[in-house]
Symmetry: C2
Subunit: 213 residues, 2 copies
């Protein structure tokens, strides 16, 4: 397999974690978002969405991190990233989507460019925008996790899964923007548990070949 990814992209980071948890290897092909390489003609031919990441598995081209993770789950069921029980699966997916739909899209490169280039926002206003969506999203997640008997060492029980794949990259982003995490003890505790595992360590942005120190 080949994974087109960018070291700091949270959707790439999610996918790398899932591959690692499954014990799968994909050759990492860096695409530089900072220089807009993802919008160039070479990458656009591979992925017309011009977004990160893209997984190539044999003849198949796969896009959208959550669709890729579901694909890996179906093709390589062990170890599972979703519980067996139908309702519990829905819970894990809902937690993953609370990050992937309600936080992450607002802080992507394209809305941030729109805010600065079309609306003339200052750097400070952009950072405030990002902090707002991360903090308000984390308030919801902390609440969802605290109130559920299914929350364990990880977002769901004693093994890491799809929700953790989404949560950890979002925390990396939060720290990048110096967001105060003291109000989110459960989220940070789960993140700390993940940080000890080889799959999460190997997937960390700082451990990617294209990382800028």
């Amino acid at each position: 397999m080949k994974l087109y990814s960018f070291w700091r992209s949270s959707t790439s980071y999610r996918t790398r974690i899932a591959l690692g948890l499954k014990g799968l290897h994909a050759d990492n092909i860096p695409v530089n978002i900072v220089t807009a390489e993802h919008r160039g003609s070479v990458y656009a031919k591979i992925n017309p969405e011009m977004r990160m990441p893209t997984l190539i598995d044999g003849e198949h081209t796969l896009t959208q991190s959550l669709a890729i993770i579901e694909y890996l789950e179906e093709k390589y069921p062990e170890p599972p990233l979703l519980p067996l029980n139908i309702y519990e699966r829905a819970r894990v997916r809902a937690l993953a989507l609370a990050v992937a739909c309600d936080i992450s899209p607002l802080n992507n490169t394209s809305p941030l460019l729109y805010l600065s280039q079309k609306l003339g926002l200052t750097e400070e206003q952009k950072v405030e925008w990002m902090r707002h969506w991360i903090s308000s999203g984390f308030e919801v997640l902390e609440q969802l996790l605290i109130t559920s008997p299914y929350t364990g060492t990880f977002c769901h029980g004693a093994t890491p899964g799809m929700a953790d794949c989404c949560l950890v990259p979002q925390l990396y982003n939060a720290r990048r923007y110096h967001i105060d995490l003291t109000d989110f003890p459960l989220i940070t505790r789960i993140d700390a548990a993940c940080a000890k595992l080889p799959a999460f360590i190997a997937a960390h942005p700082s451990n990617q070949p294209d990382a800028v120190k």
Copy 2:
């Protein structure tokens, strides 16, 4: 089952379509987003995310439209909203996510409120923002659909599925903001095919009990 939904919310609309395609009935409990009823204490107890929709199935509370649709797919497999083949499933999920992650979140109530209340955008600037994300998202979708041999009468083949559940409400939104759809002949052709089906007709915002004429 009970579905907490708002007539014009695209995530509610998606879920209503999926229920209809499965031939399932859920009592519709309207929640008024315009009066911020979803942020009130009654609804917050039901769904701490304070977002639409929420499906109650017996003792289970389900949130996030795509997690609900996957749940319905697993609990009530017939008729399927995802193909059988693993790669094709990933394709359909990626199309659904291209709407649910890359278009819809930017045009939700909360970012629009932020744009007007915190950043002082005019109504015209907000509409331009919405049009931008819908049009650029549709350009990508049209391209994904045109270049795939799997595209048929619907987003994937000859039967409607998860991607159609997401696409049709986004088109409803696009029309609401008078977006020129002439550049998206395939998307509009699929939308027209969906519009003939009872499940899509019954789920249409104008056919909901809380619809404002």
